[in-house]
Amino acid sequence: MRIWDLHCHLPSKHMPDGTLTEQMGLMLEIAGRVGIERIGVFLRTGRTEGPNDDVEILRALTRYRGRVFGFVWCDLDEVRQSIDKLQRWVGDGPMVGLKLGGYSGICSKPEYDPVFEKAVDLKAIVFQHTWIKLGGDPPYPGGGNLPKESTPQDLVEVAARYPDYPMICGHTGGNWERGIRAVRASKNISVGVAGGYPTRGMVEMAVRELGADRVIYGSDVTGRSFASQLGKVHGAAISEDEKARIFYDNLNRMMGPILRAKGMDAG
C-alpha cells in the first residue's frame, strides 16, 4: 500500500542538529521504515542567514525533489507578504502548497481572501490548521483556542467562497467528533487526520460521515510520531480500498494539477 504523508514539520529541535537538507534526509529515512514514500513538509521561509535560510530551503527541496512536497507557511495578517511568498515559493519555486497554522490568523476574515485567491490561482494545496480546544470558565469547546487559531467552522466559511477548490481541514478540528460534523456539508473540504492522539474510531467516523475520499493521512511529525498516526489508518475498521485512498489516492489526486503544472512526478 502506498503512503504519502501530508503533514510534517522541519526544521526540528527533535531531530539531530544539522542543516535542513540533512534533517530532511533523515526524516525520509525514518518515514521509509514505516512505509512512507513521500512527505509534505511545512516550511517557514524568509530567513536570509543561518542554517535554515531560504537558500538552504531551496537546496533541500531541490535535493529531495519528488520525494518532499514543500508547503510555504504564511501569516494571514501579512496579506501582501503572504501573496509574495506564494508567488516566490509556489508560483516560481519548488513548493506546492500553502500552510496556515495555529497562529496564522482566523481564516474566515474576508480581508484575508486575497491570500486564498492567490493560492487558488497557483493551484496550491491549501492546508489550514484547525482546532476546537476545550477551555474557558465554564469550559466550552473552542474556549481554549489561541487568539489567532482557526476552527473548522472558519474554514467552512472560506471553502464556501471557493466551492470548486479543495481545501484541507488540518487535525480534523482536533476535537474530531465536532470537526467532522462541522465540515460535513462542505464537499470541497477534506480532513487531515494528523496530530492528536490515535483515538480509535476517529478514522471510522470520518469515513462514515465524509466518505473515504475526503480523508487524508498525515502525521504531524516531529511533535507526533509517524507510528501513532499511521496506526489510525492501519487499525481502522474500514476496507483496504478505503485505507489506500486515505494513505495515498486522495492526496495524489489533489496534488495532481500542481505537480503536473510544475513538471514534477505525480506518482
Binding site: M1, R2, I3, S12, H14, M15, G25, M27, L28, E29, I30, A31, G32, R33, V34, G35, I36, E37, R38, R67, W131, I132, K133, L134, G135, P138, P139, Y140, P141, G144, G174, N175, W176, E177, R178, G196, Y197, P198, T199, R200, G201, E204, V221, T222, G223, R224, S225, F226, A227, S228, Q229, L230, G231, K232, H234, G235, A236, A237, E240, K243
Partner: protein
Amino acid sequence: MYVRRRDFLQGSLLSAAAIGAGTACRAGAAEEATSDEARSDGPGPIVDAHVNLSRWPFRRIPGDEPAELVDLLRAQGVVEAWAGSFDGVFHKDVGGANARLADQCRTYGDGLLVPFGTVNPKMPDWEEDLRRCDEEYAMPGIRLHPNYHGYTLDDPALARLLRLAAERGMIVELVAWMEDVRHQNPLMPVPEVDLAPLPAVLGDLPELALVLLNAVHVPWSRHLPPLLKRPKVFFDLARLELIEGLAKLLKRVPADRLLFGSFSPMFYFESTLLKLRESAIDGADARKMLAENARGLLAASRGKEAKP
C-alpha cells in the same frame, strides 16, 4: 496462578496487519516489502500491559465488545493482555465493576485477558475491593485512576493502598491520563495526574511493583529521573509521541523499565506497535518491552516462575 499463558507465536508482531498492511522502505528508496519479508523478523509474542474492557461513556469504540477485543489482540500476536475496566473509572460500585471484569476475563479469550481490578481509595471500605481482587478473583494486580477518583498522589489513602497492595504482592497500575484535555466533554474535564509527589510516596515501598500507564508523552518528562531511582517502577508506551520517540526514550529509560501497553481499544493498537519499527528497535530490547518485562513482573508479583 490465575493466568494461563498460551502461545500464539504464529501471530507475531510484524506479521500483524499493522505493519504487514503497510510497506517497508529502505533508507533512501521507497520500496514495497512483501508480506513474507514483513513476517520474517517478528520478535515474538506480545504481552499487552494496558487494555480496557467495557464501555467508555462518551463514545462507542470499535473493539469495545470483549470478543472483538480478544480477536483484535490475537490478530496482532498478543498472548496476554492486562485488562482494566472503564467501569472502574466511572462507577461508584467498584465491586460490581470488578466482578464483571473477572467474569469477562474468564469468559473471553481463553486466558488471554488478565484482570486488573479497580480500587478507589476514596470509597468506603475500599480495602474489601482490594481483598476481593486478590483473594476471590486471583487478580495479579490492580489499576488506579487518581484523577477520575478525585485524589492526589500525596493523599494518605494512596500510601496506605500501595502498602497493602505491596504486602499482597500485587502489581499496581496507575493511570496518569485517559483523554486529551483539549477535547474532553465540557461537563467533565479531568486533568492529568500530577506525578510529582510519587517518588516520596514510594520512599519506603521498595518492593512495590508500580506500572505507570499513559504517563510518558515525551521522553524528557521531568517525572522520569526521580521515578527511575525507584527499583520497580515501569512505564508503558501507548501515549509516547515524537519522531523516533521510542529511540529517544530508550536513551533516558532502560528497556528493562518499559512495557508494551497499547491502551486498546481506546487507542489503535497499531499506533503503539509501529513505534518499534519507526525507532528501528528490535532484538533484545524489543523482546523485553514486548513480553519479557511484563512476564517477569507478573511472576515476581506472586513469587512464582513464569511459564516459558
